[in-house]
C-alpha cells in the first residue's frame, strides 16, 4: 500500500513538474543569442544525461551490498538502476547528437565527454546483456555486480572530462565543478526545474522496474519449488 502510494506520488508530481518544465522551456526562458532555438535541447539533454550517470552510484552501492550481504533486493536495485540508466543515457546520446549538428556542424564529435558517456552506455548494455544471457541464480548476479562496480568508476571521469580535457564540449553547469555565473539565472531556474521533473520520473521508473524484478524473482522461486 505504501509502495503504491509512493509510486502514485512520484508519478503525479513528475507529471505536474513536467508541465511546468515544458512551459518554462518554450515560453519563459530566453533564447540563446549564439545557438538560437536549438539551445533549448539543453533543458532535456543535460538533466537526462546527469540522471543517466547518477544511476551508476546506485548500481555501485547495490552491487557492493549484494556481494557482501547476498541480499536479493540489493541486486534488484542495481539491476533496475542499470536498466533505467541505460534508457536515460540512450536519450542523452541521441539528444546530444541532435544538438551537436546545429552547434558544431557534425552529428558526433570524439571529444572526451561524449566519448566517455558512450563508454558508460556500453557498460550498461554489457550489464543488461550479461543479466539476460547468464544462467538463472546467483552466478549471473555476481558477474553483473562486478561489472557494475568497475563500470561505475567511468561515470566519475565523464563528469570530470570537460574540466580535465578542455575542448568544444561545454563545461559542467551544475555541481562542484560548475563555475559561478556560467548560466543566465533564468536558464539556471529552467534547468533545475527540468532536473527535478526528470529526477521524479527517474525514481518512478526505478521503483516500477524494481517491483517487476521482485515479481520475476518470485516466479523463479515458484518454478524452483515446482521442479
Amino acid at each position: 500500500m505504501i509502495r503504491n502510494f509512493t509510486q502514485l506520488t512520484l508519478l503525479i508530481s513528475s507529471a505536474l513538474v513536467m508541465i511546468l518544465t515544458i512551459y518554462l522551456i518554450f515560453i519563459w526562458v530566453p533564447t540563446d543569442d549564439v545557438l538560437g532555438v536549438s539551445q533549448r535541447i539543453f533543458y532535456f539533454h543535460v538533466p537526462i544525461g546527469i540522471l543517466g550517470l547518477m544511476a551508476f552510484p546506485i548500481v555501485f552501492i547495490g552491487s557492493i551490498t549484494y556481494l557482501i550481504t547476498k541480499n536479493q533486493s540489493m541486486d534488484s536495485i542495481a539491476y533496475s538502476a542499470a536498466e533505467i540508466g541505460a534508457l536515460f543515457l540512450t536519450i542523452a546520446l541521441i539528444t546530444g547528437m541532435l544538438w551537436s549538428k546545429p552547434s558544431w556542424g557534425v552529428w558526433w564529435t570524439w571529444s572526451p565527454q561524449p566519448t566517455l558517456t558512450l563508454v558508460s552506455w556500453l557498460v550498461y548494455m554489457a550489464y543488461i546483456m550479461l543479466r539476460a544471457y547468464s544462467p538463472r541464480g546467483n552466478q549471473g548476479a555476481k558477474y553483473a555486480a562486478v561489472l557494475g562496480i568497475i563500470g561505475s568508476v567511468n561515470s566519475i571521469f565523464v563528469y570530470l572530462a570537460a574540466k580535465i580535457w578542455r575542448d568544444v564540449h561545454p563545461e559542467a553547469v551544475l555541481g562542484p565543478l560548475a563555475e559561478d555565473n556560467s548560466l543566465d539565472p533564468s536558464m539556471q531556474i529552467g534547468l533545475l526545474i527540468a532536473l527535478t521533473a526528470f529526477s521524479l520520473l527517474f525514481l518512478y521508473l526505478i521503483s516500477e522496474r524494481f517491483l517487476i524484478r521482485k515479481t520475476e524473482q518470485k516466479i523463479e522461486r515458484l518454478q524452483y519449488e515446482l521442479d
Binding site: 508519478l11 518554450f26 533564447t31 532535456f44 534508457l87 522496474r209
Partner: protein
C-alpha cells in the same frame, strides 16, 4: 492497481499535450528566435518522449505477463500440494 493504470494513462495524455504545446511553440517562435534549427529541437523532444513511452509500454506489458505467469504457477503449486 487500477488507479495506478489510470494515472499512468493520464500521465501519457499530459505528456502528449506537452508535446502538442511544444509543436505549437515550435511553429510560432518568438520574433527574436531563429527558425533555422527548429527541426533539431523538435526531433530531440519527440525522440525523448517516444523513448519514454516505448519503455513504459514495454514494462507495463511485462508486468501484465508476469502477473499472469505468477497466477498460473501459484495454481499449479497449490494443485501439486493437494496431490
Amino acid at each position: 492497481m487500477n488507479s495506478t493504470k489510470r494515472i499512468k494513462s493520464a500521465y501519457i495524455y499530459i505528456l502528449l499535450i506537452g508535446i502538442s504545446i511544444l509543436q505549437l511553440a515550435a511553429s510560432h517562435p518568438k520574433e527574436s528566435d531563429s527558425n533555422q534549427f527548429l527541426e533539431y529541437l523538435f526531433a530531440a523532444y519527440t525522440i525523448s518522449w517516444l523513448c519514454f513511452f516505448i519503455y513504459l509500454f514495454f514494462i507495463s506489458k511485462k508486468q501484465k505477463e508476469l502477473e499472469n505467469e505468477l497466477e498460473l504457477l501459484s495454481k499449479e503449486l497449490e494443485k501439486q500440494k493437494k496431490n
